[in-house]
Structures are given as structure tokens and as C-alpha cells.
């Protein structure tokens, strides 16, 4: 049975990765399982300079999901390179850095640094709904996505994925911008912009007022977007949004994802990613599938 896949030039032992921002830089989860079992680890969104993040409350629970407005709190790329990367490199898994910035110049500077580090790829975050400038501001339009991606492509030789926001009118058009700009793959989807109100306090629950919705609640939206994009673009897709089991992962792969990420699912059970790998293998056995690549995009 073969579970190996190639995502945008990154050879992975299985299609299961952990989604940016839900897994830190791996340390906390290494207490629960051997990180070498994962296909890849996608780091917390990392910027050129450290970021302190948004005011609390930053998270809250919703029906079958959660809202977050962390605000990309991270220690900056230099700290990452010195402290977290050596730790992650002890494991036999691929390391993909989720990169974010406020301006094109920041994205470019950051990716110049990332290109020199011992990492396997970059996931460009053009989709965070929780910071005032940048990110989603670029991710909203064909031109914005194409301009940033092209600028980064010029300085980055490593595999480049671009992560898109679902908060757009036409996801296919935006995904085409990624392809046209020469990126190697597209990550779908980041969180859906949402809001919750405390009816006792008569005020928003999150200090940031709005936040990103993730978890099983968003899975049908994510599957639909992966399906639509897979039909129209040729570059591979890293699919995510509400995956908590092998069955969920298979659904995304049938829709056209080459690999998948587990996000909020890690919060329900720190072993969700490992159980998902097992679930995929069980499905392959039941269905007598020799190679996982056979099922990508067959629906």
C-alpha cells in the first residue's frame, strides 16, 4: 500500500499535515506523539518581525466549530530559525513555513530569508482575516494575489504554496492568479469570517469583534472550493477546513486535494492527525486501493 504523495515538489510519506496556527512549532504536540509520523508540519504564521497578536478574548466556541482572532502572534523569522527550526529538524517530516506580512516588501524580505533556511517549502498566507493590513487585503483580488505571488516567486526557489481566503466571490479566479504567478500549489481554505455576540453583555465575544470560523462547521464549504478549483487549475491543492477523521480527509482527496491539513481538529484531540493517517489506511484497505494517488480528484 502506498501513501506517499508529492505536493508541489515536496515528497511526503503520507498526505496528512497539520494546519498553520493550530500546531505552533510542534513542541507542545511532540509530548503526545512522534512528529515523524506526519507527512508535513506547517508552522504558525511567521513574519519578518515578531508580532504580539490581538487583545483577548481571542477564541470562542461555536456550533461544530470555533472563532479565532489570534492576530498572528509569532516570534519572528529570526527566532524561528534559531530556536524552532533546529527542534523541528530532529524529526523525519517535511517543514513548511507559513509566511505572512503587511506589505509586498515584507513578504519579499521574509521569503529571501526563508529561501536560505533548511525548510522544505513555504505556504504564503494571503488570507488571515484577523490583522488590519496585508494578508487578506492581498488575497481578495486576482491582481493582489498575482502581484504578491510573482514578487515572492522571484526570490524563492523552494516549493511555494499560496493559501487563500474563502471570503471571496469567486475562489476559482483567485486560485488561477496563484497558478498564473508561477506558484507550485494552492492551500484551501483559511477561515471564514464570522462573529459571535454575548447576549448577556450585549457585546461581541471577541475583542477583535470578528474572527475566523474553523472546524467541522466549514467542511462542506471547503470541500466545494477544493472541488471547484481542482476542476480549473493544474497545480496541486493542499485541502483543509474541518477535517477530523480519515473519512473527512478522503472526501477532500476525492474532491481534488493532493494532501490535507488538520487544524481545529488538533484541539479536539491532539492525536487527530495520527488517527487520520490510520483512517486513510483503513479506507485504502477496505476499498482495495493500492496507491492513494489513484483517488485524487476522481469525483
Amino acid at each position: 500500500m502506498n501513501t506517499k504523495i508529492n505536493l508541489a515538489g515536496i515528497e511526503m510519506k503520507n498526505p496528512v499535515t497539520v494546519a498553520s496556527g493550530t500546531f505552533g512549532y510542534g513542541r507542545e504536540y511532540s509530548q503526545f506523539f512522534d512528529l515523524s509520523k506526519l507527512g508535513a508540519i506547517i508552522t504558525k504564521g511567521t513574519s519578518l518581525k515578531p508580532k504580539n497578536g490581538n487583545k483577548p478574548p481571542r477564541v470562542c466556541e461555536t456550533a461544530s466549530g470555533m472563532l479565532n482572532s489570534i492576530g498572528l502572534q509569532n516570534p519572528g523569522v529570526e527566532y524561528f530559525a534559531q530556536n524552532d527550526l533546529p527542534f523541528l529538524r530532529k524529526y523525519d517530516t517535511k517543514i513548511i513555513v507559513n509566511a505572512c506580512g503587511n506589505t509586498i516588501e515584507e513578504y519579499v524580505e521574509l521569503c529571501k530569508i526563508l529561501d536560505k533556511l533548511d525548510i522544505d517549502g513555504v505556504e504564503l498566507n494571503l488570507s488571515c482575516p484577523n490583522v488590519k493590513q496585508g494578508c487578506m487585503a492581498f488575497g481578495n483580488t486576482y491582481e493582489g494575489v498575482k502581484t504578491v505571488t510573482q514578487a515572492v516567486r522571484k526570490v524563492l526557489n523552494k516549493p511555494l504554496l499560496v493559501k487563500l481566503t474563502p471570503n471571496v466571490t469567486n475562489i476559482v479566479e483567485i486560485a488561477k492568479a496563484v497558478e498564473d504567478a508561477g506558484a507550485d500549489g494552492v492551500s484551501l481554505i483559511n477561515t471564514l469570517l464570522g462573529m459571535k455576540i454575548d447576549i448577556q453583555k450585549k457585546a461581541p465575544v471577541l475583542a477583535n469583534i470578528t474572527g475566523g470560523l474553523s472546524g467541522p462547521a466549514i467542511k462542506p464549504v471547503a470541500v466545494r472550493m477544493v472541488y471547484q478549483v481542482a476542476k480549473e487549475v493544474k497545480i496541486p491543492i493542499l485541502g483543509m477546513g474541518g477535517i477530523i477523521s480519515g473519512e473527512d480527509a478522503i472526501e477532500f482527496m476525492l474532491a481534488g486535494a493532493t494532501a490535507i491539513s488538520i487544524g481545529a481538529g488538533n484541539f479536539i484531540d491532539p492525536q487527530t492527525s495520527i488517527k487520520t493517517i490510520q483512517g486513510i489506511e483503513n479506507y485504502m484497505q477496505e476499498q482495495k486501493i493500492e496507491d492513494i494517488n489513484e483517488i485524487i480528484g476522481i469525483v
Binding site: 505552533g24 507542545e28 487583545k55 483577548p56 477564541v59 491532539p270
Partner: protein, 65 residues
């Protein structure tokens, strides 16, 4: 309540520890959801502890609630 206790203790110079709660995502220090503001951190760029890992018990003088 905690805020009142914190203020009272600090006014009287009594050492005080408080056990905080915040809404949590992961509960293990990975998601950075459960932030609480560090005392005396700059207003323009406030810094945070995380209740699940740095706490839940803090010296009242270390945090701003």
C-alpha cells in the same frame, strides 16, 4: 472579583496570586488563544502571557486584567 482582589491586595502591599481563566483552543500552549496581558507592557504593543501554559496562577502584579 479577581480584579477587586488584585486592586485591594496591591493597595495594601499584600502579596497576592490569582488563578485566571480565559477561553482556550488547545490548552497546551500551541494556539496562543488564551492570552492575558502582561503588566507594564507598552500600550501600543501589549505583550501577553498564555493562561494554559504560563498560568493559570499568576502573581497579581504580573498581569493586567
Amino acid at each position: 472579583m479577581l480584579k477587586a482582589v488584585k486592586e485591594l491586595a496591591e493597595k495594601q502591599n499584600i502579596p497576592c496570586q490569582i488563578s485566571l481563566e480565559e477561553k482556550m483552543g488547545c490548552g497546551i500552549g500551541a494556539c496562543l488563544g488564551c492570552a492575558v496581558k502582561k503588566a507594564q507592557s507598552p500600550k501600543e504593543a501589549p505583550e501577553y502571557y498564555h493562561v494554559c501554559k504560563g498560568g493559570p496562577v499568576f502573581k497579581s502584579t504580573d498581569v493586567e486584567i
